[in-house]
C-alpha cells in the first residue's frame, strides 16, 4: 500500500511512522498509540501549547518542542519519553500545583480532575518547590456557574471553547506572567457579562475545579467534554 499523497515519514521513539500533511506530533503519536501527557490539549479545540506537559525531543532542535503545536516534518526524529522529559514533566506538574491553591481533598473536582489524575499518571509524589499560596478570588456572580481562580491552571480551554465552538468569546486572558488570569468580557463579574450565553461549555471542558456548576459537590460523575468532537464534526459537515 502506498502512502497518502503528501504524507510525511518520520521516526518516533525509534519506530518508523507516517503523518498526514500538517499533522502535529501529538496527533500522529496518538495514532501510533504512543502516550504523551497533556492538560491544555482537548480533542476538538485548537492547540496553544500552554501547559508544556507534551514537550518532546526533536533531533537537531536546540530546545524541547510542544508536541501539540509542532507539525511533523519529513525525516523528523522524535523522542517522547526519556529521563530528561520525565524530569521536565514532573517539574511542570509540581509548578502547576505550587502556583495557586490546589487543595484536592475539599475540591469540587476531587476524583474527577484531569490535573489530579495526570499528576498520578506521571508519578508525582511531592511538590518540591514552595507553595505560593496567592490570595485569589472566587467569582460566584453567575447564576449557574462559579469561577475559582485558585484552581485555574491557565490552560485556556475555556477561552478556546467559548471562541471557537460557542462563538461568544466571553472568556479571555489578561495580565502577564504570574499575574495572568482568565476574565469574562472586560474583567467584570461573570454574572454581569453581556456576551455569555450560559451554555456551560467552558465548565465542561475545564480540566480542574476552576469552573464548575454551582451546588454540584460530592457527585460521583465528573465533567463531560465529549460533546466537543461531535459538535465539531457536525459543523464541518454542514
Amino acid at each position: 500500500m502506498s502512502a497518502a499523497p503528501g504524507a510525511k515519514t518520520f521516526v518516533i521513539d525509534g519506530v518508523d511512522a507516517s503523518a498526514t500533511p500538517g499533522q502535529t506530533i501529538l496527533s500522529a503519536a496518538r495514532e501510533h498509540n504512543i502516550f504523551i501527557p497533556t492538560l491544555c490539549h482537548l480533542e476538538g479545540l485548537g492547540d496553544v501549547g500552554a501547559c508544556r506537559l507534551c514537550l518532546v525531543e526533536v533531533k537537531g532542535a536546540r530546545r524541547l518542542l510542544p508536541a501539540c503545536t509542532t507539525r511533523v516534518d519529513e525525516g523528523m526524529e522524535v523522542t517522547t519519553n526519556s529521563p530528561r522529559l520525565a524530569d521536565y514533566r514532573q517539574m511542570t506538574m509540581q509548578l502547576l500545583f505550587a502556583e495557586r491553591n490546589h487543595v484536592c481533598s475539599v475540591c469540587v473536582a476531587n476524583n474527577h480532575c484531569e490535573m489530579q489524575s495526570m499528576a498520578t499518571t506521571l508519578g508525582m509524589t511531592h511538590v518540591e518547590v514552595p507553595y505560593r499560596f496567592p490570595a485569589l478570588t472566587v467569582d460566584a456572580s453567575h447564576e449557574r456557574f462559579t469561577l475559582d481562580h485558585n484552581r485555574c491552571i491557565l490552560c485556556t480551554r475555556c477561552v478556546r471553547v467559548c471562541s471557537e465552538i460557542e462563538g461568544a468569546h466571553t472568556w479571555d486572558v489578561m495580565g502577564r506572567g504570574i499575574q495572568s488570569k482568565v476574565i469574562t468580557d472586560l474583567d467584570q463579574p461573570w454574572g454581569t457579562s453581556e456576551t455569555c450565553t450560559s451554555c456551560g461549555k467552558c465548565v465542561q471542558v475545564c480540566p480542574t475545579g476552576a469552573l464548575f456548576q454551582k451546588n454540584r459537590t460530592g457527585e460521583r460523575r465528573g465533567k463531560d467534554p465529549s460533546f466537543l468532537p461531535y459538535l465539531r464534526t457536525m459543523r464541518e459537515e454542514l
Binding site: 481533598s105 459537590t217 460530592g218 457527585e219 460521583r220
Partner: protein, 474 residues
C-alpha cells in the same frame, strides 16, 4: 510547700491537652485547669468559599466524626437555600448520623475507656490500651472492633467511603438508597445489636467496681442540653433544643436551634483555646450545661424504640432526677448504640426510604443559616452567613466538646481533689484525672477547630506558680 502537677499529654483522647493541678501548702488540690493547646481556624479560612463547599470543608475538622459535621453543615446550607429537603433524604441523613454515632461510641467505649474499665484504673499503663483489652478479654475487644466496623460499613454503603464521604449535600443527599444496599445494612443489624446488649450487661455488672469513681467523676449539678422531638423522644438529627436543670425541671422545653445565639454565649478563658459556652439567661457559671449521651438520656422522656426504652428506664431509675455522674456517660453511650441499631432498622423498613427524590435544589434564598444536630459527643452547631452570590462571609461553630468544657474543668477539679494528695502522686491517680475527661469522649481537635501538638501533660504547680512536678506522655 504549694505545688503544681502537670499531666501532659492527656492520653486516649481525640486531640491534645494538658492538665494543671494547683496544690496548696498542705498538698490539697486548689484549682485544676484543663488546657486545650491547639487552634486551627476553620471559621476564618472558610470565608470567601462557596457555601456548597462547606460540608466538604467542615467535615475535615474531624476524621472520626466527619459525618456529624457533614450533617450539621448541610443543614445550615439547607437553611441558606431555604428549602425543605425531601423526607427520604432527611431519613437517609438520620441513618447516616446514627451509624456515625455507633462507630464513634464504639471507639470511645472500647478503644479509649474499656482499658480503664476492664483492666482497672491502677493497672499497668504499658498494658492499659485496646491491645491489653484484647489479651484479657478478646471477645470484648472484638465486639468493639465489630461495632466500629458496623457503623463504618453503613457509612460506606450509603456515602461511598468511610471517611469524608461526599454524599450529604445542601438540599439532601446526592444518591437515593437502592434495595440491595438497604438489605445489606438490614442484614448486619441483628449481630451488631447482640454485641451492644452483651456489652451493656457486662458494663452494668462492672460498675460495682467503680463506686469511688462514680461518686467523684464530675458528679455535680449542671444543666443539660440536647435535641428532642415534639413528643419528647431523643432526637439526633432535628427537633427542638431542651434544657433541664439538675433536678430534672425543664428550664426551656422547646428552644429553636436556629436562634442559639440568642440564648448561648461563649466565654473565653486565657488558659485554653477552647471557649466555654453557657446558657445566657442564667449567666456564668450558673448557666453551665452538659451535652452528649448523658444529657440526651436525661432530657428525653424515652428513646422511642423498644429495647432502648427498657435500658433507658433502667438508666433513669439509678437516680431520682437526672443521672449526674459523668461516669455514666459510658452507660448512656451503650444505650444510645442500642437505640441506633433499632432506629436504623425502623427507618430502613419504611418503604419511603427507597424514594428516588432525595435532593431539593435552589439558589441561595437566605443570607444566614444555622444547622444543629446531635453529634456523638453532643449538640453540634454550624452557623453561616453568605453574600448574595453564596460566598461565606462569616462562620461560627460550636462543637459538642465545647459545650462540655466547663463541666470537664469542674470534673477534673473534683476528681483531682479526691484522688490527688501532695506530691506523692501515683500514676493511677493521674489516670483517674484523665479518665474523667475520657467519660466526655472529648474531641479536642474538633472543638477548637485546631491543629497542633497534643499529647497529654499534667503539671503540679506551687501557689507561686513554680513547677513542682510534670508528667508527660507523647
Amino acid at each position: 510547700m504549694p505545688k503544681t502537677i502537670t499531666i501532659a499529654p492527656v492520653t486516649r483522647l481525640e486531640g491534645h491537652a494538658k492538665i494543671t493541678l494547683q496544690l496548696d501548702d498542705a498538698g490539697v488540690v486548689q484549682e485544676a485547669y484543663f488546657h486545650i493547646t491547639q487552634v486551627r481556624g476553620f471559621e476564618k479560612f472558610c470565608e470567601g468559599r462557596p457555601y456548597y463547599e462547606m460540608p466538604g470543608i467542615m467535615a475535615r475538622i474531624c476524621g472520626i466524626c466527619p459525618v456529624s459535621h457533614l450533617i450539621a453543615s448541610a443543614k445550615a446550607c439547607d437553611a441558606l437555600l431555604a428549602v425543605r429537603i425531601p423526607p427520604a433524604a432527611a431519613n437517609l441523613r438520620r441513618i447516616f448520623n446514627l451509624a456515625q454515632l455507633v462507630q464513634s461510641h464504639a471507639l470511645s467505649f472500647f478503644y479509649l475507656s474499656a482499658p480503664d474499665l476492664l483492666l482497672g484504673m491502677d493497672s499497668d499503663p504499658a498494658m492499659r490500651h485496646i491491645l491489653g483489652v484484647a489479651q484479657t478479654a478478646p471477645e470484648t475487644a472484638l465486639d468493639g472492633v465489630h461495632l466500629r466496623q458496623f457503623g463504618q460499613t453503613v457509612i460506606e454503603i450509603l456515602g461511598g467511603q468511610r471517611i469524608h464521604p461526599g454524599w450529604v449535600v445542601p438540599g439532601g443527599v446526592n444518591e437515593p438508597l437502592s434495595l440491595e444496599k438497604r438489605d445489606k445494612i438490614l442484614a448486619m443489624i441483628p449481630e451488631a445489636r447482640a454485641k451492644v446488649q452483651r456489652t451493656l450487661t457486662w458494663f452494668k455488672a462492672a460498675t460495682e467496681n467503680f463506686h469511688a469513681e462514680i461518686e467523684v467523676f464530675a458528679n455535680f449539678p449542671t444543666l443539660f442540653l440536647g435535641l428532642a422531638d415534639d413528643e419528647g423522644k431523643a432526637e439526633y438529627y432535628d427537633g427542638h433544643l431542651r434544657l433541664s436543670d439538675s433536678a430534672g425541671n425543664m428550664v426551656a422545653s422547646s428552644l429553636d436551634p436556629k436562634a442559639y445565639a440568642s440564648y448561648i454565649e461563649e466565654k473565653v478563658e486565657p488558659f485554653t483555646y477552647l471557649k466555654f459556652p453557657y446558657y445566657k439567661p442564667l449567666g456564668y457559671p450558673g448557666g453551665v450545661y452538659r451535652v452528649g449521651p448523658l444529657a440526651r438520656l436525661n432530657l428525653a422522656e424515652r428513646c422511642g424504640t423498644p429495647l432502648a426504652d427498657v435500658e433507658w428506664r433502667a438508666f433513669r431509675a439509678m437516680s431520682n432526677g437526672p443521672v449526674l455522674s459523668s461516669f455514666y456517660y459510658h452507660q448512656a453511650r451503650l444505650v444510645e448504640m442500642l437505640h441506633a441499631t433499632e432506629k436504623i432498622e425502623q427507618l430502613l423498613l419504611d418503604p419511603e426510604i427507597l424514594d428516588k427524590h432525595v435532593r431539593a435544589t435552589a439558589r441561595v434564598n437566605s443570607n444566614e443559616g444555622v444547622g444543629v444536630a446531635e453529634a456523638p459527643r453532643g449538640t453540634l452547631m454550624h452557623h453561616y452567613q453568605v453574600n448574595d452570590d453564596g460566598l461565606i462571609t462569616h462562620a461560627n461553630l460550636i462543637i459538642a466538646t465545647g459545650h462540655n468544657n466547663a463541666a470537664m474543668n469542674r470534673g477534673v477539679l473534683q476528681t483531682a481533689r479526691h484522688f490527688v494528695r501532695g506530691d506523692q502522686v501515683t500514676e493511677g491517680m493521674l489516670n483517674r484525672v484523665e479518665a474523667v475527661i475520657r467519660t466526655y469522649d472529648p474531641c479536642l481537635s474538633c472543638s477548637t477547630h485546631a491543629v497542633g501538638q497534643m499529647p497529654l501533660q499534667v503539671e503540679l504547680r506551687a501557689p507561686d506558680g513554680a513547677l513542682v512536678r510534670s508528667l508527660r506522655r507523647d
